[in-house]
């Protein structure tokens, strides 16, 4: 199969292959782990079944992303597992070692896929599999001599791409930070001791007061007037006790103040434990750039500024992918060849600069190159020729808007080996990742001088800074990173000029159901993905530090809200999603969906659920169905799909057959029992369709059974099938 037969453009295919690769690693890890656990005795039937299942999944996904060699290898491996499972071939002491070599070989194959060495490697792995599966094999037979070890997998960020390991739930903390916390904790104990001593004193004092009162009481109880001497003595006692009380109270207040400070220190210390300097991110960038330099031969150096800037470790980990992507972009598209650089009077070696700094409560990370810059005229033309923008829109748009289109997820600039090709999807992912962290990306470029990407992010993910305002008597919040300014809007105005820019006005009071305000009122200037607007509000409360809480599954479908926070007095305050506000004011703004926006408004086909244990297949289906106008949800197995179908109605279900726990037929049978899904079109995607499967599918009213690999044509045919 060649790439031409696939239904993805090159960038999309590259992304899917990256996904597939991560997934394949996981599958191979499962096999290796099971094999190693078994050692010289045959693994349990369950273990073999699991190994068959993961290899089977691998086979299906490999076909869809156009890697026929992997389809072949995993098919043979699956057959070998099946044969081992029914004891058709014996498990010898050498089998485990051989299987580990085979999985290592398949891992190595990914590093050379597409290169001339790949075919030879695939052939060798096939031989190894055949060795295991040879029926005449005797248990005492020796493992085949190994010709040459598989190539060491080279860590290559270009090929690895976005397949960086998931962020770990670990915190590495410098010892002195723990020491600081320990000393605060010690201080806390000290504070407690001092306060306890004061309380002890107060208790003694209250006993003394009781005694004094008793003396007075006894004196009054006697007949006649108490003697002056008694009164004088009592008064003296009281005076002493009052003085002591005043003194103790004052001391106690001081100690409480000290306690408050210690608690503050503890809180700061704990927040700092989550903080990390930009150094490790910069080191990672340096390593990535070195690898890129080796791979491409581009002469480029990295300069880093602001390594000591501190921010949340969780943020730092999530930034690894975007930074890698931006570095690739700079090396592949930014830095000119040496002769061109010399011609422009630039140093032969290009420079990529990463600068980190703190701006108020935000982390600002700038990645700039001193390369050729982005040709906005060419990009403008390409947006029009690819039909993504109308000519009028492209003409009206200024350079900043054109550059921003690069970050739109849907933008994939097609064409032959073009300097702009390949920028689309990767940069879209950068924006998505940064937006997930509550941040923003901006791009600026000077032709001939270079390009700068600026990432603005909150320093910490748990705490967010937000602008609070009132509408209709309720307080709402918008994350501060998206609030550019505040202004005043005249009654009835539909646009407002802010900083020389004409912005649309969104009447929040109307959107939130409180009727149009008739007065001149405050406006919050909101910006997201390069689009800005002014939202009118009743009153601006001001910036606050908030803790973002999820709204929960019941409220999740209300996309207007990004979450909620709880005020000091315990009231729930809703957080508005800036992306949604911007979409309301700019209906043509790029959506966060991977679907190609196209030029004509898309006809909404309905909501589809794709169930498959392969992420690559899920993404591929999402992309294909998205283009046909479907809103696509995905589930990784039948159990999750059942959970989702309980919460939402779907107009189309596309499911794999072989999945852990609840398999495809099981899922369909259960859905058919639910009255909401009795007639819903269901399409099965599978790489193993036998007559028995077809019979069961017919019984369950399945609309079509599509063999993997899935192509757009097959999918369209299945969708068009009438029952």
């Amino acid at each position: 199969m060649t790439e031409g037969e696939l239904d993805f453009d090159p960038e999309e295919l590259a992304m899917l292959r990256q996904l597939f690769r991560t997934e394949a690693q996981d599958a191979l890890d499962v096999v290796t782990a099971r094999v190693l656990a078994a050692g010289s005795t045959r693994p349990s039937s369950d273990a073999l079944t699991e190994m068959m299942r993961v290899t089977h999944t691998l086979k299906g996904a490999a076909g869809t992303v156009g890697l026929p060699a992997i389809v072949d290898l995993s098919h043979r491996l699956e057959s070998a597992f099946a044969a081992l499972g029914r004891d058709a071939i014996p498990w010898t002491p050498a089998t485990a070692d051989e299987l580990v070599e085979i999985t290592d070989g398949i891992r190595a194959y990914f590093d050379v896929a597409g290169e001339p060495a790949a075919d030879a490697l695939a052939a060798r792995i096939l031989d190894q599999i055949d060795q295991i599966a040879r029926p005449d094999r005797r248990p005492e037979s020796q493992p085949p001599p190994f010709v040459e070890p598989p190539p060491e997998p080279v860590l290559d960020p270009v090929a690895e791409g976005l397949a960086v390991p998931e962020p770990k739930a670990w915190l590495r903390v410098e010892p002195q930070r723990i020491d600081g916390l320990m000393s605060s904790a010690g201080e806390l104990l000290f504070d407690r001791t001092r306060i306890e001593r004061r309380v002890q004193l107060l208790r003694t004092l209250s006993r003394d007061l009781a005694r004094t009162r008793q003396t007075l009481h006894d004196a009054l109880g006697d007949t006649g007037v108490p003697s002056r001497s008694t009164l004088v003595a009592t008064e003296a006692d009281l005076a002493g006790q009052a003085a002591l009380l005043a003194q103790t109270t004052a001391a106690l207040l001081d100690e409480i103040e000290a306690l408050r400070n210690t608690i503050g220190e503890l809180q700061r210390g704990l927040t700092q434990i989550r903080m990390e300097s930009a150094r490790s991110l910069m080191t990672h960038a340096a390593r990535t750039l070195r690898a890129l330099r080796r791979a491409t031969g581009v002469r480029v150096e990295l300069r880093t500024i602001g390594e000591d800037t501190e921010f949340d470790k969780a943020v730092a980990e999530q930034l690894v992918d975007p930074i890698t992507q931006l570095l690739r972009n700079a090396v592949a598209h930014g830095i000119e060849p040496p002769e061109e650089r010399v011609g422009r009077g630039k140093p032969v070696t290009g420079t990529v600069t990463i600068r980190a700094r703190q701006d108020g409560n935000l982390l600002v990370l700038e990645l700039s190159d001193d390369g050729r810059g982005i040709d906005t005229a060419a990009l403008r033309g390409r947006l029009v020729t690819t039909g993504q923008w109308s000519a009028a829109r492209a003409q009206l748009a200024d350079d900043a808007e054109i550059l921003d289109a690069l970050l739109g997820t849907g933008l994939s600039v097609r064409g032959d080996a073009d300097e702009l090709a390949g920028r689309g999807i990767g940069l879209g992912l950068v924006r998505q990742t940064v937006a997930k962290l509550g941040g923003e990306v901006e791009v600026s470029s000077t032709p001939g001088r270079g390009t700068t990407f600026s990432l603005r992010l909150p320093l910490s993910t748990a705490l967010a800074h937000a602008m609070l305002f009132k509408v209709g008597g309720q307080v709402y919040a918008i994350p501060n990173v998206h609030v550019v300014d505040t202004t005043l809007v005249d009654a009835g105005a539909t646009t407002k000029i802010v900083r020389h820019e004409l912005l649309p006005v969104l009447r929040l009071e109307l959107l939130l159901g409180h009727g149009l305000g008739s007065d001149r009122r405050p406006g919050v200037v909101v910006s997201f993905a390069g689009k800005s607007l002014v939202c009118t509000v009743d009153k601006i409360v001001g910036p606050r530090e908030i803790i973002i809480k999820p709204l929960g599954p019941l409220l999740a479908p209300l996309t207007l809200y990004a979450g909620a926070t709880i005020s000091g007095s315990g009231k729930v305050q809703l957080i508005l999603d800036p992306a949604q506000l911007v979409r309301r004011a700019h209906p043509d703004a790029p959506t966060t969906s991977l679907a190609d926006p196209g030029s004509a408004p898309m006809v909404l086909a309905g909501r589809a659920l794709v169930v498959d244990d392969s992420r690559a297949i899920r993404e591929a289906m999402t992309s294909m169905l998205g283009r046909e106008g479907w809103i696509v949800d995905v589930a990784e197995d039948g159990a999750r799909a059942l959970q989702m179908t309980r919460q939402l109605r779907y107009d189309l279900i596309v499911t794999d057959l072989e999945m852990p726990e609840v398999d495809g037929f099981d899922l369909i049978a259960r859905l058919r029992k639910d009255e909401r899904f009795q007639t819903t079109p269901i399409i099965i995607i599978t790489s193993r369709a036998n007559p028995e499967h077809r019979r069961r599918a017919r019984e369950l009213g399945v609309r079509a059974l599509v063999a993997k690999p899935i192509t757009r044509r097959k999918l369209l045919e299945a969708l068009a099938t009438k029952q």
Binding site: L511, A564, G570, Q580, R583
Partner: protein
């Protein structure tokens, strides 16, 4: 065959209902109720419950009737947990008592022989999810 159910009996808008005790997490007095614009009327608002966001549902709407009185701070509410583990609150006028009652055909008869309607939180919440889901879907379409 009549089955014995352990239920909590309560009144909303003059109608008496019951919910099986196994679905009831707490009986609370609601904190400040924040309205959720664009949400369907079945969702009366959200509240802070031990630092989490608690949706407050209107039973009358979920059972197909007109909206009941709005949920306000200080109103009584049952905090329910569904089969799927979703937590939500039902605003109630009054919690009457806890009892073991016989069920037949979805109706319960209390000690004085009066019928009660037995509510199933799981199906109520599923219905609420559908309503919220369809409201969410219309809202996401960009305004022309």
């Amino acid at each position: 065959m009549a089955e014995l159910r352990n239920v909590i009996v309560f009144t909303i808008g003059g109608v008496r209902y019951a919910v099986e005790l196994r679905w009831v997490r707490e009986v609370v007095s609601l904190g400040f109720v924040t309205g959720v614009p664009t949400a369907p009327s079945a969702l009366g608002g959200v509240c802070n419950l031990h630092g989490a966001i608690l949706p407050v549902l209107d039973v009358a709407v979920l059972l197909g009737g007109p909206p009941g009185p709005p949920a306000r701070q200080g109103d009584g509410a049952l905090v329910l947990e569904t089969e799927e583990g979703l937590i939500c609150a039902l605003r109630v006028d009054q919690v009457d008592h806890v009892a073991s009652l016989h069920e037949s055909d979805g109706a319960l008869i209390d000690a004085s022989g009066r019928p009660l309607r037995l509510l199933d939180p799981t199906s109520l919440v599923r219905h609420a999810l559908e309503l919220v889901g369809s409201a969410g879907a219309t809202i996401t379409e960009p305004l022309a």
